[in-house]
Symmetry: C2
Subunit: 206 residues, 2 copies
DNA sequence: TGATTCACTGACCGTGCGTTCAGTGAGCTG
DNA sequence: CAGCTCACTGAACGCACGGTCAGTGAATCA
């Protein structure tokens, strides 16, 4: 059985605290301006302690990103795996995104920063290997759902992957706007907007 | 008349060279990893020379962004000012974006970096004042065009600003994908995809 | 042609970062 | 209770960056 020793428990707790602190600081200051010192202060540990659990800053950010994005992926997968029509499925996927980022506001900055690789070529390659796949995989899964709907005749044929990219990125803009608004409308209103646009477009029908 | 003295000409040339170098280096290394030294080398001048024309790194980046985004805005404005139906107008706006970024690949990284403010509060405020307005203004102009179309009954009523954000951001994803593709399809194909989605959605009609 | 100017240079400086590691002390051990 | 262990600490280090400014020499002037 999976009984955890006291050491394991305290280790996991430390790792979690540090990762949460990392997200909060990056959420507040932005990727570039988030320093190890401030992350350590925020987590209530010494700077050196972080290096007991993470090799360097890069690994810290990477692991922090990964553990959060996996939670998002779980929700999206749950939405995609349901046996429902494409209408409901798209709405569910969008609801998963809006809900997740609503609950994890601090993560949003980190999420935006890591979509676009930074730094010299070597760093970029490493980021491409670790962070972009999550983005790409999510887009591919969504594209797969669109293709299935095309096969079933629910959706017009077209480049499903590019459609998926468009939709995911477009919703990101709406989510960003929601997070900046003082009094965002209920999630339903924005979900209706998004799904309405995706499914039926903006053209008025007679 | 506007005869330029020799000094003015050489000044303009310097400024242009430095700004072009800035875009190339940021395009290659990313915003954070682009150093003044490398920009200077790329422009073929000494580091100190840059500071004769720009107060500091921040102003350099800001001005570089501004002069490029204004060129984009000109194209978009031209597309929006035409007296044509909303179908053609949307296509023209999208064509302006795709075309511009196709011709100014190096600028794309800079563009993506400056959408989301970085750094501590003071820096963020300055960026909000200088860079975000261009983004917001573009979205508002596009939203205005959508509202006009709503008034004319061409488009269903809805939150025009959020629709504009969704559309602009979604197209950005397609453009990014185009820039990464080894052999992107002709612009027409992607423009059809985008305008088709926006106007009529993805749902198959009987 | 000697004097003057000034755009340009690049070695230098201070700062602030990520990273290290000798030291500390709470808690376990025998 | 003496000795030991080891997770944790934070001062110190090296480095790379943005920014400075005394110096240089080509172009201009008188």
């Amino acid at each position: 059985m999976a009984a955890k020793s006291k050491e394991e428990v305290v280790q996991e707790y430390r790792i979690e605290s540090i990762q949460e602190a990392t997200m909060r600081v990056i959420g507040r200051k932005g990727m570039a301006a988030a320093t190890m010192q401030e992350i350590a202060d925020e987590a209530g540990v010494a700077k050196g302690t972080i290096y007991l659990y993470f090799r360097d800053r890069e690994e810290l950010v990477e692991k922090t990103f990964e553990s959060a994005i996996l939670r998002l992926m779980d929700r999206v997968d749950a939405a995609l795996d349901q046996e429902i029509g494409i209408d409901a499925k798209i709405r569910a996927v969008m609801a998963a995104h809006v809900g997740f980022f609503g609950e994890n506001r601090e993560f949003f900055r980190l999420y935006l920063s890591l979509r676009m690789p930074e730094g010299p070529a070597t760093r970029q390659r490493r980021q491409k290997q670790h962070c972009q796949p999550h983005y790409r995989v999510r887009a591919e899964k969504f594209a797969k759902a669109l293709e299935d709907a095309m096969d079933r005749g629910e959706v017009r044929r077209g480049d499903a992957y590019k459609l998926a990219l468009f939709i995911i990125e477009g919703s990101t803009a709406i989510i960003l706007e929601r997070l900046n608004e003082d009094a965002p409308p209920s999630e339903e209103v924005d979900l209706d907007l998004i799904t309405g646009l995706i499914l039926d477009g903006i053209r008025k029908r007679s």
